[in-house]
Point group: C2
Amino acid sequence: MRIAQIAPLYEAIPPRLYGGTERIVSYLTEELVARGHDVTLFATGEAETSARLAVVRERALRLDPSPLKSAIAAHLAMLHEVQRRAAEFDILHFHLSHFLHFPMFEHMRECTVTTPHGRLDYSDLAPAYALWQGFPMISISNRQRRPLPAANWVGTVHHGLPLDLYEPLPESQRGIGEPYLAFLGRLSRDKRPDRAIEIARRSGMRLKIAAKIGDDDRPYFHEVVEPLLDHDMVDFIGEIDETEKPAFLGNAAGLLFPIDWPEPFGLVVIEAMAFGTPVIAWNEGAMPEIVDNGVTGFVVDTVDSAVKCVGMLDRLDRREVRRVFEQRFSATRMARDYEAIYAAMAAGSGCSERVRTDHERAE
Amino acid sequence: MRIAQIAPLYEAIPPRLYGGTERIVSYLTEELVARGHDVTLFATGEAETSARLAVVRERALRLDPSPLKSAIAAHLAMLHEVQRRAAEFDILHFHLSHFLHFPMFEHMRECTVTTPHGRLDYSDLAPAYALWQGFPMISISNRQRRPLPAANWVGTVHHGLPLDLYEPLPESQRGIGEPYLAFLGRLSRDKRPDRAIEIARRSGMRLKIAAKIGDDDRPYFHEVVEPLLDHDMVDFIGEIDETEKPAFLGNAAGLLFPIDWPEPFGLVVIEAMAFGTPVIAWNEGAMPEIVDNGVTGFVVDTVDSAVKCVGMLDRLDRREVRRVFEQRFSATRMARDYEAIYAAMAAGSGCSERVRTDHERAE
């Protein structure tokens, strides 16, 4: 198929800094190319891809040091180019938030599909969707759909990672030193690092926290988290980079993910699983869909339960965690899922035929 | 004429907090109604207006305490409503930044006019405008046009204020106490409060600084401004509200406006003039258009010149400053200017006729 992937312009594809959406767009694009599709990626000039690259802005907005840049104008210009070239594609796959593309693709909505990568409970989203209803949407978890039940959901596709991106550590490198729980991610109120610390203190297992403190989270950090860090069993190791992830996640007895918000996916959870590391996750957002309770980890509602589950982590088979990861959360599985939706849509919509007719007419 | 005013949704119309755009939209709307036009204001529920009000969001985005709101979706929803009702109007006047409305009104651009209220030298704006060229634009100063020379500029309309909003203080309330220079506005690098302080120190006239320190400006304030405040002749009086403005601006010997950026208008400059207070402004942005050199103030290029001009402030006639303000910067003059442009556009575009035909067809 001739597929357009339309990425947000904030970060490079794949991202130089943090960017879950940009990673997924990259993995998906590479897999679709590997599977023989004719893929065009609309993105910024830094993009590294084996697809055709349509550069719509020289630099990603966050990587561009100029203070004088307009995210809205940049995205509108990209959409103009996608619109101009729309007839070249069987399907246009948008990864943009907040429906910016809806007005410009209203007349061909059946040839588009949109993956929103964020939460959907912003008060403006449901009323806006109602004005452009019918746009086909793919959720990244079933839970993500809840604030937008009336949308034209055509599928859920859980994220996936390349199987060789992270692999379990060789036995010789594992289990050296004291067992520990891992917390990885922003130290925001939503992520509840305070709960992670309480679980560690009560379970008696060491906790290692690897996290960046963002500007927005600094007041919360100083008020709530910092006072709790002064404990023998809690190590705050700051931000880690990709090269440090294998040792950090691969050696952990378990990942704690005690979130307090409707996380639509939670990429770090499947990263841990890729290393064979089980997860203790709160019963929030997509967690019950992603964690197989008692197999790849535990889904809990209370600190009490979480503490009990820490004691049961060593009953889980880390090879089985990896096996389930490979089965459920590979980039190949993700690409196949998207591919099946594209195919079903293209068959039903007549987009490809419309396109072919346009092409024939042009010849 | 049947006129739609389309306001940004960040602040109330008129604004509860700071909002230059929202003040101008409010003044313009009220004047147009007073002049007998049939005006509809698209805005949020807080709006207070004598026009017909089309509420497109219950609360202004900045006044809505919810953290889960989407500026993009909110504005798209408003534009959808404007589009649906477009045939009811002879002219659609957009006050939005960054061209968000262009894609949706491409087919009727000749029935629209856009006043951008901010600077236009964002790198994404000129390329985006080129994709939707022809959209009629009204600048708030001639200088504002410079980064977008290829735009379809149909006029410049300087801002204006209602004549009774601010008035010179009665003589009995003036000239009490030591003469001082006033600095009013954000303490940002662009506004160069450091220059204002240097001018005061070197001229020997007291400086009163009334300003809020925004979160973004705090590092600059601590680094650059705070060390300079420790001087007998400099009073930092913090943020002032509307009720304190008359005493602060009306009693000042002059307003210092030593900006270091291409300010497209500079509302505080005409506020000072409304009180009869002359302005010493830098030769930047719209200043040479707004300040009549030697009449309502001085336009300078250096601190040396500014210091000299402080010594010449008392040669300016404050009644003449007010008189020029009344002539050049009243809301009535502003509304008449816009009205003339609307009329010329409606005559040339056939929008009104198109609309009438649509209406007749509907009957």
